[in-house]
Subunit: 183 residues, 2 copies
């Protein structure tokens, strides 16, 4: 890949994330981005079809950063240990989110980024299956799809709440809260 392309791409992404830390996605204009990245308008559109594509790309990247990099290395996809192991992982995600709080705050509140949550939900779905929680849905007497939706959104809403309170609660405690209300 051409060095120029790499530089441009990196400049755009970093400009975008910086802007995302300052204001909501909806009020960021392409002009803002290219000013900050110090590139021409046509150059931007040579890299990204639309502004939404950029958001999409960024979400995917952040998502991969949360799940692929950190998650798999931690537990090597072995959740046979049951809730204990899964808890360690959930807590691990929270630590990661807190470390990069600036990046994620805007993504979470960004109205167009339910994209991020959709990925989250997909990934979370496979987690739940590994935990064998779909059997729990039978115990509780609710449909599997309902339980899946409930469980995912409960975690997502926990995280949202966490960010709203300014991340004052320790990650371990939040995981505990989540377990207690969903258990």
């Amino acid at each position: 890949m051409d060095r120029r392309q790499q530089k441009t791409r990196a400049a755009v992404l970093s400009a975008f994330e910086a802007l995302l830390a300052e204001k909501r996605y909806e009020q960021i204009t392409v002009q803002d981005i290219i000013d900050r990245a110090d590139i021409g308008r046509s150059t931007f559109y040579a890299h990204f079809e639309t502004k939404d594509s950029l958001l999409d790309y960024t979400c995917r990247k952040l998502f991969a950063h949360v799940f692929d990099d950190h998650l798999s290395s931690e537990t090597s996809h072995d959740f046979s240990g049951g809730e204990r192991t899964a808890d360690r992982m959930l807590t691990h995600i929270l630590y990661h989110l807190r470390d990069d709080r600036k990046r994620y705050t805007r993504i979470f509140s960004c109205e167009s980024a339910d994209l991020f949550w959709r990925y989250f939900q997909t990934q979370f779905g496979s987690l739940i299956r590994k935990e064998g929680l779909l059997e729990k849905s039978r115990e509780k007497g609710v449909p599997e799809e309902y339980y899946l939706h409930f469980y995912c959104s409960a975690y997502m809403e926990s995280v949202k709440w966490w960010f709203e309170t300014g991340l004052t609660v320790p990650p371990e405690d939040l995981t505990l809260y989540f377990r207690r209300v969903t258990g």
Copy 2:
């Protein structure tokens, strides 16, 4: 109030709701609305500051329709009966939503209408207090605000899931599901 104003207002609101049943809020233009309502552009802006104001107004109206009209008449704000009474009310809301499904489907999926959910959450909050569920938060060992947030969003997400599945589940059953997973 001038008869002309009333007519115009009614025309706008009905045009807006009709459009909302056809496409998402984001892709509805002011032009669409005034074409359908058959009024002049300046007339629209004489009634509503912006397109968002119209959405805001509509959300408030729908919200009042769900809560004030139906809810209070049903149980007269007496939730001392505990879960049984509250369940009847939750189910009642679901019936109302299903009867007017076309109106609500778009509102629920409209990205700018977390407004509606905010109202919902506020109202739900007072419900929970009356149910004495904040004591339950102590039993469960989680902060009250966390439990409130969790409980509200669990109901909201249940409703969202319900609409996604095309309202196939009977209202009574959904209330049951909700109770089983949050109980």
